[in-house]
Symmetry: C2
Subunit: 259 residues, 2 copies
């Protein structure tokens, strides 16, 4: 006497997982557009029509993969954040930024699935917005925590810029209320800038737009993370990441380096 939905439900969950795994395997080979339901059923030794009992359409499969990808990235970000000193806000920012980039580089097609162009006609089902917000929440949490304990350098007013115009202030206010209760409108707008910068740079790297522009994105990414953290008002990490520390004194400086 198995539980109300017993053996059958379990094998169903297993097959569902196997289908997604096989889909991910295909995606790793030739991208999301290369996922073929028939090929999946072939690989799993089932009839081609059988898969529709688990995913009503190709788009539903993709949506499931998107949710999983968001969750995977969100988990990576949360882990990186938790692995840094709770009150070393610069380190937390850098760690999460690197976690995003690392995850993207090790799951390029899943990153593209989520942060690339919306694949089929249009996709943004309700199921995706929850998991999608995990990374964002981590990032926002860092800034908000820093602000709460007064570690956020009161953002130097942008030189020569007028105070916030109304519309921008309204938007910023909404965000302050929603996720940054301890901060100001100016800070929240800069956080949005840093957020979009982070993903913009990762996307450019993965999608090939840095080709011919930046040969080795790693050090540039690292430095930019720190600069954007400072831009938001976060303190520099207490112990700078290895690359920044070891070479800071310039033992191996090249060419007309430092002017």
């Amino acid at each position: 006497m198995p539980p109300s939905t017993g053996l059958r439900a379990r094998v169903r969950a297993e097959l569902t997982a196997e289908i997604k795994d096989e889909a991910r395997r295909q995606m790793a080979v030739e991208g999301a557009s290369g996922i073929s339901l028939r090929a999946i059923t072939r690989a799993l030794g089932m009839a081609s029509s059988g898969i529709y009992r688990y995913f009503p359409s190709r788009d539903d499969l993709l949506t499931a993969l998107i949710v999983d990808a968001y969750d995977s990235l969100g988990a990576a970000a949360e882990e990186a954040d938790a692995g840094s000193g709770q009150d070393d806000f610069g380190a937390r920012w850098s760690a999460v930024g690197h976690a995003v980039r690392d995850w993207a580089r090790s799951h390029p097609h899943e990153y593209a699935l989520v942060y690339g162009s919306p694949v089929p006609g249009y996709r943004a089902p309700q199921d995706t917005i929850g998991p999608a917000s995990r990374v964002t929440s981590v990032l926002a949490g860092i800034v908000n925590d820093a602000s709460r304990v007064g570690a956020l350098s009161e953002s130097p007013p942008a030189p020569g810029l007028a105070p916030l115009p109304v519309q921008a202030a309204v938007e910023a206010r909404r965000l302050v209320d929603a996720a940054f209760p301890a901060t100001t409108e100016e800070v929240v707008l800069r956080s949005v800038a840093a957020w979009t910068q982070l993903f913009g740079m990762v996307s450019f790297e993965l999608f090939g737009h840095l080709e011919g522009v930046i040969t080795d994105p790693a050090p540039v990414f690292d430095r930019t993370l720190l600069e954007m953290g400072a831009f938001v008002g976060l303190p520099a990490p207490r112990t700078l990441p290895p690359e920044m520390r070891r070479d800071a004194r310039g033992s191996g400086r090249i060419g007309h380096g430092g002017n």
Copy 2:
């Protein structure tokens, strides 16, 4: 006696253009993945196999559309830049940024085709790198021009950050030599940050990642453009754009605005 390649070449060029136009029409309806070679031939009243005499494969058609899109965006950026006061560098930066966003919003699928995930298996043919660099060159030109005439505020060293580590300096040096002869490594790295921020924010807006976060992206985008311009060291535009000017005195300020 038509020129060595006469009438035949002309009608060929016309048909090629018609094919691309029809493809763009289909793309406008349901995205790049909705482009069907057979549907194109149907719309043009030709045999389905005929199209392969003009584009050897679907990917080649897409590549042609990518090149056109890059050119279209590049032209828009150049025009916006030329339409601003040659020596009002803040205004030029803002104008080009807005041109990029406006172009993206009025050509969403073409933007996705170019800045979204590489569509088929992988794409980055040689033909695309030339046109792709037009926007980038415009942006780089503004910063470099400003620096050349001394209008670039010597970038305040990021608070608490060590000097540039070697690897980053090497990358930056390459860029200085290639496109920013009048600037420093620090400036060039910040320019890369601003560049990726610009496209990151546009992509987030178009791809739906601002949904539920920012209701009206326009004022946020506008403000962020100015802040990122300042981040690079560009002066504020001499005459701020209308939204920033009219409300600058805060007649309609909301909530506990200005900390």
